[in-house]
């Protein structure tokens, strides 16, 4: 614990890295577009997301119209919010669920560990997108289901990382001390174990968020995610791809936004991973020095 309290936080160290700054800038731009777009769009273009601005696939306005004659720019500006909300919720669900299962498995060991991890293995054996497609095909394209399915498919991957990290710290002196004081297991996990595995979990957070964005957009593209007439980047790509030759903006704008967003979150994740690795090296060398002394 000493190492984490006396040195700058992992996030601060990660953000000091140049690639993190680029990642943060890219992410901020897209998130700002997604958050403000639904309100700025109609004001900027004079059209709402479902009204007709002209004939289909015409070049009027800044970015032309889509296949139903709706303004592409308005729909683009409004199309990121739902995707972002679903991606964040799905990631949060996967992280909380996975971290809880992984920590319990790693800390408890024995049969509970085997049970949880073998259960995770079963889920891991399904490709994530295939699992999501299966669930949505059975129940229907509902927003809550999208979040639930993507979250659940993230959980085993997070659980593996959380378990591994928990096993690494569970026999540390401060945990043994906590056990000696007969602290309840939940408290040990939340107060002692969790703060010491935030590094790998932060990396997972970034990674899973990137995947979530990709999955929500892919499912919408396939017609199984966000439903028309809602403006959504994944859906826009599908709706407008036939006219890539005529009116490319309907595809290019959402593709660029999704690409920039995932590159941004990836760069931040990479920085977090680098910072966490350096922190782990520093802790190891610090411990080694103490031991040799």
């Amino acid at each position: 614990m000493t190492a984490t309290t006396t040195r700058p936080t992992l996030l601060r160290r990660a953000l000091a890295l140049p690639q993190a700054k680029i990642g943060l800038a890219l992410t901020t731009v897209v998130v700002a577009v997604a958050l403000l777009g639904p309100w700025v769009g109609p004001w900027l273009t004079g059209h709402d997301t479902t009204g007709f601005a002209g004939k289909p696939f015409q070049s009027g306005g800044i970015a032309g119209t889509d296949g139903l004659g709706r303004d592409v720019l308005t729909r683009f500006l409004a199309g990121g919010l739902t995707l972002l909300i679903y991606a964040v919720l799905a990631t949060a669900l996967g992280l909380v669920l996975g971290a809880a299962l992984g920590m319990v498995a790693g800390y408890s060991g024995g049969r509970l560990d085997s049970l949880i991890m073998r259960g995770s293995d079963v889920l891991l054996s399904f490709p994530q997108l295939v699992f999501a497609l299966l669930a949505i095909a059975m129940i229907g394209p509902e927003g809550w289901l999208l979040v639930l399915v993507i979250g659940i498919t993230h959980a085993p991957r997070v659980a593996r990382v959380a378990r591994q990290s928990t096993v690494a710290v569970k026999d540390a002196d401060f945990i043994r001390a906590a056990r000696m004081y007969a602290l309840p297991r939940r408290r040990i996990l939340l107060r002692e174990v969790l703060p010491n595995i935030t590094g790998p979990l932060m990396v997972e957070l970034g990674l899973r968020l990137t995947y979530s964005i990709g999955y929500v957009a892919s499912l919408s593209f396939l017609g199984l995610g966000i439903q028309p007439p809602t403006a959504d980047w994944g859906l826009m790509i599908n709706e407008n791809r036939i006219a890539l030759v005529v009116e490319p903006w309907g595809v290019l704008l959402p593709v660029l936004a999704i690409a920039v967003l995932t590159v941004g979150t990836n760069l931040i994740t990479d920085s977090l991973a680098s910072a966490a690795a350096r922190s782990s090296d520093a802790t190891t060398s610090h411990t080694a020095k103490e031991a040799s002394a």
Partner: protein
């Protein structure tokens, strides 16, 4: 089955341009199609010879050469060129004679006699006999394995041979419009010993090779009954499941013609001097279907109000990019009995609101089930949703996939859509508007309507029949469950050197997939 032997016909310039298109340079390619490169459309008398390569939408591993069970577009295209029914609808949607040269009803319309064309032969040179026709209909209506053509022949009791060239159709119920029912591409005449592995018919082409899901190669039928036809030596039908691939293949001159051009790309192809667009006005329709036996649609005021919220012109412009004609909540626009005298219904929000208020449904909230059952279906649902807002009607879209749409709940959805090709009034009614119709989506069973169409079906006097059918249409117009907002144009494209393709009203692409009269300039 490769296309290698076609490469000799493709100039190097075309080949290079084609490669560029396939490499993703379609916009560039279109922009570069200069006038100097443009070929002139062929003129003068038709020329013999050459191979026509056609890109056809859809198809898959279950493709077949069965004359009586075509399912996908490539199936239909094959059936149209290998086989011929006794009669068929021509490009103007008039009955024309193919294997038969005459089809006449008895005085009571309960027996119809077809006279076979003199000297008509199958691909293998054998003459077509009445026994072949009887065997064909036995195969179609086999109770253990009825083919798709059997669906509209429920009134056909038995078929018998009469002399050397005649066949009699005995009906269980008299029908004055039996020719309408017989004129289907899935009723092709085949020999009594027909084997789908050796597909023999009387069509302009005979099968040379066929690979399900990929392509089929047909060659000229030397025994074809029309003198000098077909003009082509060879016809190659190639499956394409993706719009992009089909259009790129046309731009790259890998095919000579394609069906189903997405309406958004019509102008792009039209601006390319090497291409021609074939746009056909059809009777194809994509209705919204309201179940008249389920609330709130069981109230005729609600149905009429929803018909009044539709801005039909806007539907045509936004959904079909203008490639269609407005509808008047009636189908079968090419039927001589079409009720064109009924006033064209237009958007009337005030009247719609009044009707809804009268029905106690001022803030109507309904679910519309939509699916990509045909190009424009999901789009039409979205435009309808937008238009209904003006009358205070909330339409919640429930988009399902096509399999789900046509699954267990098909014909049970309260408010949904459907898709129909061109038909005349009575055959369409038999399919979808009678209590015993196989596809009565709206559960329409108006007793007065049923009485009128049943009487009309038995009435051989054309004038009297027309009057009855117009009355029946008025009933549908005033209280029916269909919102027929428009008729969809069929839009296809071909290279400028392809001649003989003409607009076709049937709704089938590329002149009804009839390539017997096509030639290459």
């Amino acid at each position: 089955m490769s296309l290698d032997n076609h490469d000799t016909r493709i100039s190097r310039r075309k080949f290079l341009l084609g490669s560029a298109a396939l490499a993703g340079a379609v916009p560039f390619l279109s922009a570069c199609g200069g006038r100097s490169d443009a070929a002139a459309a062929p003129t003068g008398p038709p020329k013999r010879g050459g191979t026509l390569r056609v890109g056809v939408t859809g198809g898959g591993a279950s493709d077949s050469l069965d004359p009586h069970s075509p399912v996908t577009n490539p199936d239909i295209a094959r059936v149209r060129n290998l086989y011929e029914p006794l009669v068929y609808r021509d490009h103007d949607f008039e009955v024309s004679y193919l294997v038969a040269e005459k089809l006449e009803p008895s005085a009571d319309s309960a027996t119809w006699t077809a006279t076979l064309r003199d000297g008509i032969r199958f691909h293998d040179g054998r003459p077509v006999t009445p026994a072949d026709v009887v065997a064909t209909f036995r195969r179609i209506m086999d109770p253990d394995d009825p083919k798709s053509g059997a669906a509209s022949l429920s009134m056909l009791d038995r078929v018998t041979a009469k002399g050397d060239r005649q066949v009699e159709f005995h009906l269980s119920e008299p029908s004055a419009v039996f020719a309408d029912y017989l004129g289907q591409y899935s009723l092709g005449i085949v020999p009594a010993d027909f084997d789908v592995a050796k597909p023999v018919g009387t069509g302009p082409f005979r099968a040379e090779s066929f690979t399900a899901g990929l392509q089929s190669r047909f060659v000229r039928n030397p025994h074809y009954w029309r003198p000098d036809r077909p003009y082509l030596d060879e016809l190659v039908l190639i499956n394409f499941t993706e719009d992009d691939a089909r259009i790129n293949a046309l731009l790259a001159s890998q095919v000579d013609a394609i069906d189903q051009v997405p309406v958004a790309l019509v102008d792009v192809l039209r601006s390319d001097e090497r291409m021609r667009i074939l746009s056909s006005e059809t009777g194809t329709w994509l209705p919204f279907t309201m179940r008249v036996d389920r609330p709130p649609f069981d109230d005729v005021r609600v149905r009429q109000a929803l018909r009044l919220v539709v801005d039909r012109e806007q539907m045509i412009n936004q959904v079909l990019s203008g490639q269609g004609r407005v509808g008047n909540d009636l189908y079968a626009p090419f039927d001589p009995a079409y009720a064109s005298e009924l006033p064209q219904r237009t958007q009337n929000i005030a009247e719609a609101r009044r009707l809804l208020a009268e029905a106690g449904k001022s803030n109507l909230d309904i679910e519309l089930v939509t699916a990509p059952i045909q190009a424009g279906a999901v789009e039409a649902a979205q435009v309808f949703q937008q238009q209904a807002k003006a009358a205070g009607v909330t339409v919640r879209l429930r988009r399902v996939d096509t399999t789900t749409f046509y699954g267990d709940n098909y014909l049970k959805w309260d408010f949904a859509q459907d898709f129909w090709y061109t038909r005349n009034y009575l055959p369409q009614v038999a399919n979808g508007s009678l209590p015993d119709s196989p596809y009565n989506e709206t559960h329409w069973q108006d007793p007065e309507f049923v009485r009128l169409v049943r009487t009309a079906d038995r009435t051989s006097d054309a004038g009297k029949r027309t009057r009855l059918l117009k009355q029946a249409q008025r009933i549908e117009y005033e209280r029916g469950g269909l919102i027929v907002w428009g008729f969809v144009n069929q839009v296809d494209a071909h290279q400028v050197y392809v001649a003989g393709l003409v607009p076709d009203r049937t709704g089938l692409p590329l002149s009804g997939y009839s390539f017997g009269h096509v030639w290459l300039g």
